[in-house]
């Protein structure tokens, strides 16, 4: 994307359909990246307006205003302040407006209009307005506001997009477009006088016109953090910011003494302006709030005190059922494809360290993670549906009270639930939680939820050592043990959340002001694009770290090579084996021997690798998912000192408890590092989870022995 392509910024409220419009304009021609240093996604894409003319569209995060409060808003406020000062100015701004919610959406638009850049309003969701037999006179609206154009459209029904493109073409081909703000806030003389020290200061620095300067002053008074933007833009020096801060505090104080509230000054004046401008044009229907909408009637059932949670649990059950059944076939395909690729490389290259590295290290290591991709994609698919239909907001509504008690957010529920399949999509899904603290706690406890990679370990241990006998008449001991493991992880996650919420400081106050979007059918295109983007993010981001650790693990398990060729190589003599032996004294109190120790180490690649490691150690041929060989081998292992079986049900239980808690999946920590942007949190998680695992297993094994169990 070269510099000659004109830049168009796309702005709008959350839930205004901004992303759908971006997709319609750019097609598959887009690039998703994170803003430097933070995890807010930045999307850019090229839109072809004619055969010869293209523009680059920059999708800004969805915000309600230019006041810098949340992370998203800071980005937008920062960017727009730069534009105001002539840096990287776009050729035009498309302001996406939900036609059914005009006055609130136009709040941001009116702020954007003050940047001196031509604004085109994309009056989206006109289909819903028309369904209610209402209409909005877009020509009239354009005149009132004085924007470049107002284009009525529906991204959902895909009409109006051509008109939007031709308005874009119009604005970039015309030279010297006059940009004026028709409507302006009426700032009372009294207030104008009070704020004059700030506005005069800004006027001397920036030389914007009177009105714009007053607006800037109002924003600084509303929110002190608006001043930080000036220092980040290098617009003012440190000393200037200091004196401006003093001025600001004085002025804010004076305003409050008048009986006004400086925090809501800009909003009050601006909404006054908008409400006045729109009041003669039956555009906003105040009586609207009296009517019961269809969503409201549906909500009576879906968020009912008792029926609501029941429906939610049924839905979840259905989703997880389909994850496990639908994913089986693609997982088998991936498994055999990885195996085929490995064999192919074995035939292609001559034996040697490089081939071993490629086949045993990289291909099998990355393959072990890729196998979970179908589950992740299916889960992402359902999560996106729940999000796009608006149901997710209702779940958050129902669960917020309960979640808030343990320091989490109503929106933590679905990410936590995803954790039963795989922690990674769950961690990525926490992006929807706007409180940093609640999001962080959700991420920290999420890996305690038993994911599907633990399943092979539980299955092996339960199958080998827990007797298959009925208990209490109707339950089965094996099944009960399995449920117990899932229960243990879940309850611990809740307890840990409640504890750490007392220690983590809030980065900005947590608030739960959540828009409840009307229910609507998700769009297939955006659904698949979302799943695709997330899947790609997982493969690329986590893949890099997984590749590196796979190589290290392979090295540890295959070196040093034996001195002579006659001596057969065994993992016992490898570095991994040596580490296993070295840590044996530490893990012996848990009932583990060095072989389990090696398994614990290789599990760092992925938990289910434990099974194949043990299989290798016992030289059992691992035939697919058939655990019979290794089950027997484990049962038959004899302790040379006592002559009794080495592994007992108690040891098996201890191993399982260890796997419930232990920090073993490097992909998870790779994702946490990405999402929190530092190694601090993944390291803290590794420490606390390993501690829990050790103490948990110790209690089970030693306690069990004291009680006389074996």
């Amino acid at each position: 994307m070269d510099n000659k392509t004109p830049l168009i910024a796309l702005m709008g409220n959350p839930n205004s359909g901004k992303t759908a419009i971006f997709n319609l304009l750019t097609g598959m021609n887009q690039k998703v990246s994170n803003y430097p240093g933070i995890t807010v996604e930045q999307r850019r894409g090229n839109a072809q307006l004619t055969d010869t003319c293209a523009v680059q569209i920059m999708d800004m995060p969805g915000t309600y205003s230019l006041t810098p409060e949340s992370l998203d808003e800071k980005i937008v406020a920062q960017q727009t302040l730069k534009w105001l000062n002539g840096i990287d100015r776009p050729a035009a701004i498309i302001s996406v407006v939900d036609a059914g919610n005009l006055s609130r959406n136009l709040y941001l638009t009116s702020q954007v209009m003050e940047l001196g850049i031509p604004v085109i309003i994309a009056l989206n969701m006109m289909d819903r307005v028309k369904k209610k037999n209402q209409n909005i006179d877009s020509k009239e609206l354009q005149k009132i506001l004085g924007v470049h154009a107002v284009v009525p459209m529906s991204a959902r029904e895909k009409w109006g997009i051509n008109e939007l493109q031709s308005e874009l073409l119009n604005v970039i081909t015309k030279a010297n477009i006059e940009v004026s703000t028709h409507i302006q806030m009426e700032i009372p003389k009294e207030i104008e006088k009070i704020i004059s020290p700030i506005s005069e200061f800004l006027y001397d620095k920036n030389n914007h016109d009177n009105y714009i300067t007053n607006v800037q002053a109002l924003r600084i008074i509303t929110r002190k953090s608006a001043l930080e933007l000036y220092s980040e833009c290098k617009n003012l020096t440190g000393a200037e910011i200091k004196s401006l801060t003093l001025l600001r505090d004085n002025v804010a104080h004076e305003i409050d003494e008048l009986g006004l509230n400086h925090r809501i000054l800009e909003a009050t004046l601006r909404f006054e302006m908008l409400d006045n401008a729109l009041k003669d044009h039956t555009l906003i229907n105040q009586s609207e709030i009296k009517n019961q909408s269809r969503s409201e009637r549906v909500d009576k059932i879906l968020t009912h005190k008792w029926v609501g949670p029941l429906i939610f649990i049924t839905l979840l059950y259905g989703i997880f059922q389909s994850i496990f059944t639908w994913a089986t076939i693609p997982m088998q395909y991936i498994d055999s494809a990885v195996g085929y690729l490995g064999n192919y490389c074995v035939q292609l290259f001559s034996p040697g360290i490089l081939r071993d590295l490629l086949v045993e290290g990289i291909i099998s290591g990355v393959g072990a993670i890729l196998i979970f991709l179908p589950q992740i994609l299916i889960l992402m698919f359902f999560m996106t549906i729940l999000e796009d239909t608006g149901y997710m907001a209702r779940v958050a509504f129902m669960m917020d009270k309960l979640m808030n008690k343990i320091g989490l957010h109503g929106k933590s529920v679905l990410p936590l639930m995803s954790g039963y399949a795989c922690a990674i999509p769950g961690i990525m899904a926490t992006r929807t939680i706007d409180s940093w603290k609640e999001r962080l706690i959700t991420i920290i406890v999420l890996p305690l939820i038993s994911c599907s990679a633990r399943l092979p370990v539980y299955t092996l241990m339960i199958g080998a050592f827990i007797p298959n006998k009925p208990i209490l008449g109707f339950l089965n001991l094996q099944g009960l043990t399995m449920v117990l493991m899932y229960f243990l992880g879940t309850v611990t996650a809740m307890v840990i959340a409640a504890i750490i919420s007392r220690f983590i400081e809030e980065k900005g106050k947590s608030s739960f002001v959540m828009e409840m979007p009307p229910y609507r059918m998700p769009l297939a295109v955006s659904l698949f694009r979302q799943v695709y983007t997330r899947g790609k993010l997982f493969v690329i981001n986590a893949g890099k770290i997984i590749m590196a650790i796979s190589i290290v693990l392979w090295f540890l398990a295959s070196f040093p090579k034996p001195d002579s060729d006659e001596e057969s190589f065994s993992i016992q003599n490898s570095y991994a084996g040596k580490i296993g032996h070295a840590i044996e004294p530490v893990i012996a109190p848990l009932g583990f021997d060095w072989k389990i120790g090696v398994g614990l180490i290789t599990s760092f690649a992925a938990r289910e690798v434990m099974v194949s490691t043990l299989a290798t150690l016992y030289n059992v041929e691992d035939e697919g998912d058939d655990f019979v060989g290794i089950t027997e081998a484990l049962k038959n292992e004899v302790n040379p000192l006592t002559g009794l079986p080495k592994y007992t049900p108690l040891v098996a239980l201890s191993i399982m408890v260890f796997y419930v808690y232990a920090a073993q999946c490097m992909a998870t920590f790779a994702i946490v590092k990405n999402e929190t942007n530092s190694w601090k949190w993944p390291l803290i998680m590794i420490v606390y989870m390993t501690g829990l695992a050790y103490i948990g297993s110790l209690l089970v094994y030693q306690g069990g022995q004291m009680l006389g169990f074996t």
């Binding site: 309600y64 409060e69 919610n101 709030i289 909500d299 900005g508 106050k509």
Partner: protein, 75 residues
């Protein structure tokens, strides 16, 4: 009409916002979403066990926490 707090409204009841005493971050969030003194709202539903409270304002729906609703005066 007498002044009461938002959480005292019954589902379906409308009222006008008079003032609020919520913390500052929440205040700026509310006003930029068009929820400010003088605006008419309708209480849609209350979450179970003092859970969130959903209101309709300016033609859209929004949920607030119960403890925040207690700080909003309406009449």
């Amino acid at each position: 009409m007498s002044i009461k707090q938002l959480h005292h409204l019954l589902p379906g009841e409308s009222a006008k916002i008079i003032s609020f005493h919520t913390d500052l971050t929440l205040q700026s969030r509310l006003v930029e979403m068009g929820i400010l003194p003088g605006v008419e709202i309708r209480l849609m539903k209350k979450g179970p066990f003092k859970g969130p409270i959903e209101i309709k304002v300016r033609g859209y729906e929004v949920a607030l926490r119960y403890k925040d609703a207690m700080q909003i005066n309406v009449s």
